[in-house]
């Protein structure tokens, strides 16, 4: 990508626009601003942004509806700003195709980190399909279906490998319970999260240095899971 990434900021609150837009510009992004869902959709068409920061509480359209309309026009990652306490909106938007979320009130670094991850994923997916990826201190080899820590192979069951590979493929990005269940067990399993809990516990035992206190395979409460490549230093 030669030109600076272009970000569309969608929020009806002028105060948020006035604080966030200069912040993004200061990091070299080009920023367009929209205040309503309809404006957002037409800006996606006209300006072709590389990433969309979308507030779910817009006055004219329901947040998930805006998400759906944007998805029809563009594959650009969507980072949701959610002011509501309810997790349902977030999960619904993530299921529809949003990539990540930040809950208001958030700090600058939190938002910038989410944007960086989402943009990096965009670059990765534009490159050739990878045969192996390194996540944290692990190396995952897709075609040989094995996981190495240093020179030691960690033995995983096929389902455990699928789960790890899925999360690693979407590293640093939150995947909803629903998305994971559907990818690993199929559409009929989306209402049976207990499968996922059990499998995640097994995987953590094999991957995490301290399974009771995971550093890589993190829960996003009520939403889903995220594999972090750079665990918090604490």
């Amino acid at each position: 990508m030669n030109r600076p990434p272009r970000i569309l900021l969608v929020d009806d609150e002028v105060a948020i626009q006035r604080a966030v837009a200069p912040l993004l510009r200061s990091r070299g992004y080009e920023v367009d601003v929209a205040s309503t869902g309809k404006e957002a959709v037409s800006a996606v068409v006209d300006r072709r942004p590389d990433l969309i920061v979308l507030d779910l509480g817009l006055p004219d359209l329901d947040g998930t509806e805006v998400c759906r309309r944007i998805r029809k026009e563009s594959k650009a990652p969507i980072v949701i700003l959610s002011a509501r306490g309810g997790e349902q909106d977030k999960v619904a938007a993530l299921d529809i195709g949003a990539d990540d979320y930040v809950t208001k009130p958030f700090g600058s670094e939190e938002l910038l980190a989410r944007i960086r991850v989402a943009l990096r994923r965009l670059e990765d997916s534009e490159g050739p399909e990878l045969e192996r990826i390194a996540v944290a201190d692990l190396i995952i080899e897709y075609n040989r279906r094995r996981v190495l820590r240093g020179d030691d192979e960690i033995r995983l069951t096929p389902k455990e490998f699928e789960l790890l590979a899925l999360l690693a493929h979407n590293a640093d990005r939150v995947l909803t319970h629903r998305t994971i269940l559907k990818a690993i067990w199929g559409a009929n399993a989306v209402d049976q999260p207990e499968h996922l809990w059990v499998l995640m516990a097994q995987l953590r035992k094999k991957i995490e240095p301290d399974p009771g206190n995971p550093r890589y395979l993190l829960s996003e409460p009520f939403v889903g899971y995220r594999l972090v490549t750079v665990p918090p230093s604490t």
Binding site: A15, R18, A19, V20, L23, P59
Partner: protein, 486 residues
Amino acid sequence: MTRSTDLRTLSFGCAGIVLITFLLRRWPQVSNATTVALGFLVVVLLVATTARLWVAVTTSIVAVLAFNFFFLPPLGTLVIADPQNWVALLAFLAVSLVASNLSAVARDRTQEAVTRRDELARLLDLSRDVLLITDSAVANSSLAAFIARRFDLDYVAICLPQGAEWTVFESGSHGHALSPVDLSAAFRAVEASTGARPLTAAGHDLRVVPLRFGTKPIGLLAAAGRPIESGTLDALAALAALALERVQFLDERKSAELARQGEELKSALLASLSHDLRTPLTAIRVAADNLQSTWPDERERREQSELIVAEVDRLTRLFQNILEMARIDAGAVSNDARWVAPSEIVDAARNRVEHALRGRRIELSVESDRFVRLDPRLPAAALSHLLENAAQYSPQRSSIEVQGTVSDTGLTITVRDHGDGIASGDLPHLFERFYRGASAKIGRSGTGMGLAIARGVLAVNGGRISAENCADGGARFTIVVPAEVK
């Protein structure tokens, strides 16, 4: 039917007998035992159909005596010579007595039917009254009053047991002291037996019937005065019990409804607060981060710090609104009336929302030579919310017109803007808490509390607020506060 009408009928009967006697004595050629007997019988029957039995019997006896005295030989005496005439006389007496009796029975039946119809009509009227009872606070006493009125009773009491005590709701012109002991005894008797027969109890000549929900007795109905048939009394009690049950049901529904509204309000408050707090907090947080970093130049730094100040102001106003609303809810808004000039109120309101009115043209027309006696803080608070609204929902360059007038009954303040007016769908909900019109949500911050607060503070001293659209565009809000004027 009274005694005097009986006597009048009796005298008419006797006069009829005298008249017939006179006529038949005058024309002996048409008079024989048969014509005399039939003539008298007509009179007796006429009397029997209109008066009570004793009047008819008395008339019959007078007729027998006249028959004997004037027409049966030997004439002029009460002696009867011919045994045939004895038979005729006795037959006449028997016929007239039977006829009297028959007609009296028929009339009693009619009378009874009329009474029945009358009581049925009273019951029907009562049932209508009962359906109109909606206020549970006065339901029991108004029920007693309705029964007393509809049935012309001297005394009606609805007695409901409360443990060992009795709550008695009385109505009627007479009072009776009902002793709880007697009532409890009567109630126990009702509980023990399954039938609904009226009980005569409580010392006085009171009729007492049980009030039942289904088959379970819940109290007693006592009545005195006009005699009422026991069947009617039972029906009356059933109706009264239904009325009590209905009021209880209405009460339950009302409290369920209140609870539901409370829940709705709570979740509206939470949703509103969640959004209204998080937005300024986010803006402040990000702007503060921006100020800490090295990238902003002087102009950008100024912008970011202005943003922080503006958002802190917004949080402060939100906080004030929540506080005001809580004070209204708690009934903690004080009302200290004093003499005040209308312009003082308008000035106070303008000062409160200076930030919103900055750069706006306000056209004032406020009456200056009369004073009102009220707590100026209340209308000023309400007016400030109206001004804030007007500034927010009309173009920056248009004017806002404020008019204050004093009438003999109080103070009226109107605020008129030149915005888009109020959508007709929003008008009925305008003063509801957290209600924000669809168009109001676009690009404008607001909490949906301002107008609800305006209404709430005005209500403290009996003031009202209303909204309308002007014919030539824009909205007009009117505050009316009743007050002493000088």
